[in-house]
């Protein structure tokens, strides 16, 4: 099977984007991806759009962009896996090339969440577990699902709200250095602790925001990489994927996500990684809230079960620590435009590995491997992707 490389990337500014409509927001990341890869729209053989929608007007974004960006008549589809939508889109692009059906694929992730008022968005995300048994009957919200993990974790291991707050502080620290981030301002633990509860024990600054944004990567086969003479590229070394039950009540445990552990195990095995902290240069993990970042450390084997909060407490996931995590600001402070998030993680892997990250947030690249952990719902979907400078 052919290797698959990212040969071009683009990223829109994340935030409240009242200045652009959906195709304009998409083009903002597509244009630099084309330029970066030195390609024209007509060169693309297949494209896939990660978008959750519902809160936004246009349902057929692949067709919208086929028209707006001259991609017609090339084939396309939309994919969705809740907040892991972007990584699912990457999977479709990755397999399209690996299967030999295409040599050049464009993967676009986009969300314009602010086409609906905030209360509607809050309502809609809350419907992403079991609609009937959790939302309709018991009013669960998306922060609520993760809050139940945060509280169970605190009870079991003795972590504190301050430990989670430190994750938010780190996110803002790096977002302040990322020109594409939604919140470009440092905060401290006291600010997080003073925030009002959204879903106890999670407070306002524990939560990722409602974000408009897009991100784009262009994928190429080995053959195409050679043919085009591409020098700057990052390979997709492996991807693991898992699914969790819809009802949280059908799970054994609320201090870890079984689907994420399963996805990580596959991704590591396929990429030949047995000691992630030693073999990776850094990671993006799914910090839609602070607590799940801590749980991700454990699910990914960056530390033992029950010790993730210590990494946060000790600042071990800053650059220079045990392993840098979310040094782009993470979902928490870079922003979390659902469909774009997984693709944004791929863009970050590309930048970090090629040492193109902004000043103050470039990790030390020794192993040439970066990990992206992208979760949909509360472990309803889990995608773990490993990117590398050298094809395995």
């Amino acid at each position: 099977m052919t290797g698959v490389a990212i040969i071009g990337v683009g990223h829109s500014v994340f935030g409240t984007r009242r200045d652009v409509n959906i195709p304009e927001l998409c083009w903002e990341s597509m244009k630099p991806a084309f330029e970066n890869a030195n390609l024209e729209p007509k060169d693309i053989e297949f494209f896939v759009v990660g978008n959750l929608g519902i809160w936004s007007s246009e349902l057929a974004i692949p067709a919208i962009m086929a028209e707006y960006a001259d991609l017609a008549p090339k084939g396309s589809m939309r994919v969705e896996a809740a907040c892991a939508t972007g990584s699912a889109a990457i999977r479709v692009g990755y397999t399209a090339i690996k299967s030999g059906l295409a040599d050049l694929v464009l993967v676009l992730g986009v969300e314009k969440m602010q086409e609906s008022p905030n209360p509607n968005v809050i309502e809609l995300i809350g419907r992403f577990g079991s609609y009937f048994w959790e939302f309709e009957n018991f009013g669960l919200t998306f922060p609520g699902y993760y809050a139940m993990h945060a509280s169970a974790y605190m009870m079991k291991y003795g972590a504190t709200e301050e430990d989670f707050a430190k994750v938010a502080v780190k996110a803002h620290h790096y977002a302040a250095k990322n020109p594409y981030a939604q919140f470009r301002k440092e905060i401290d633990v006291a600010t997080v602790m003073k925030g009002p509860y959204v879903a106890w024990p999670l407070k306002l600054f524990d939560c990722s925001p409602i974000t408009d944004g897009s991100a784009c990567v262009i994928l190429a086969s080995e053959k195409k990489v050679k043919e085009l003479g591409i020098e700057e590229k990052v390979w997709i070394l492996s991807q693991g994927v898992g699914t969790g039950t819809a009802n949280l009540s059908k799970r054994e445990d609320f201090t870890s996500l079984a689907s994420a552990r399963y996805a990580a195990e596959q991704a590591y095995k396929l990429a030949g990684i047995d000691d992630p902290v030693k073999q990776l240069d850094g990671a993006n993990v799914h910090d839609c809230f602070t607590a799940p970042e801590v749980i991700a450390y454990e699910d990914l084997g960056f530390c033992k079960r029950g010790e993730g909060y210590k990494l946060a407490r000790e600042g071990q996931t800053y650059i220079g620590g045990k392993i840098p995590v979310n040094v782009d600001g993470g979902l928490k402070a870079k922003g979390h435009p659902i469909g774009a998030t997984g693709v944004s993680m791929a863009v970050e892997a590309y930048k970090q590995l090629l040492r193109k990250a902004d000043k103050g947030r470039q990790a030390d690249i020794k192993n040439g491997r970066w990990l992206a952990h992208n979760i949909g719902g509360t472990g309803h979907y889990a995608y773990v992707t490993i990117y590398g400078l050298e094809k395995r």
Binding site: D19, V20, E24, W27, S56, Y68, E115, S116, P117, F135
Partner: protein, 158 residues
């Protein structure tokens, strides 16, 4: 039977289906969707409409866009001129919408058509006139207000 009655009678928001008698739970959580779309990039289109003009964007590379778009995928620039379209052309197709969506239920059946304007671009618009399609039918574009109370445009046979 409405949901309140159902709760009284069945104890739950459950209404048996009229035909099959199968129990149906009537959702007690309503969601109202109404979107907020940015038109910042095509402001001039609306300013033009108000003055009775039909505007399109034209890229420095010569490409014309209608509906107007802000970015040009041909040359990847985003510096558009606004040009006025000639409001005449040939009707290419037509339909009459009899079964209307809820949000258009305040209309009688209405006709919509597509014309190719003499500038070469196509336009989809309301159609006013006898709903008959014949080859080469010339139409003009009229900027009018309809029930919504703001300017829109219609194709009218000449």
């Amino acid at each position: 039977m409405d949901v309140k009655e159902a709760i009284e009678k069945m104890g739950f928001p459950i209404i048996p289906d009229e035909k099959s008698n199968a129990w149906q739970w009537f959702d007690v959580r309503e969601l109202k969707l109404r979107y907020i779309l940015s038109v910042e990039g095509i402001k001039k289109f609306y300013e033009g409409l108000k003055e009775g003009k039909l505007l399109a964007t034209k890229c420095k590379c010569g490409r014309i866009f209608f509906p107007p778009q802000k970015d040009c995928p041909s040359c990847k620039k985003s510096e558009m001129d606004w040009i006025e379209l000639k409001k005449e052309g040939v009707l290419e197709t037509l339909t009459v919408i009899h079964v209307r969506p809820t949000s258009f239920s305040h209309y009688d059946p209405y006709a919509v058509g597509i014309a190719k304007l003499d500038d070469g671009v196509r336009i989809l618009a309301w159609y006013r006139g006898e709903p008959k399609l014949k080859p080469g039918q010339r139409v003009k574009v009229e900027i009018v207000k309809r029930k919504e109370g703001y300017q829109t445009y219609e194709l009218v046979p000449i």
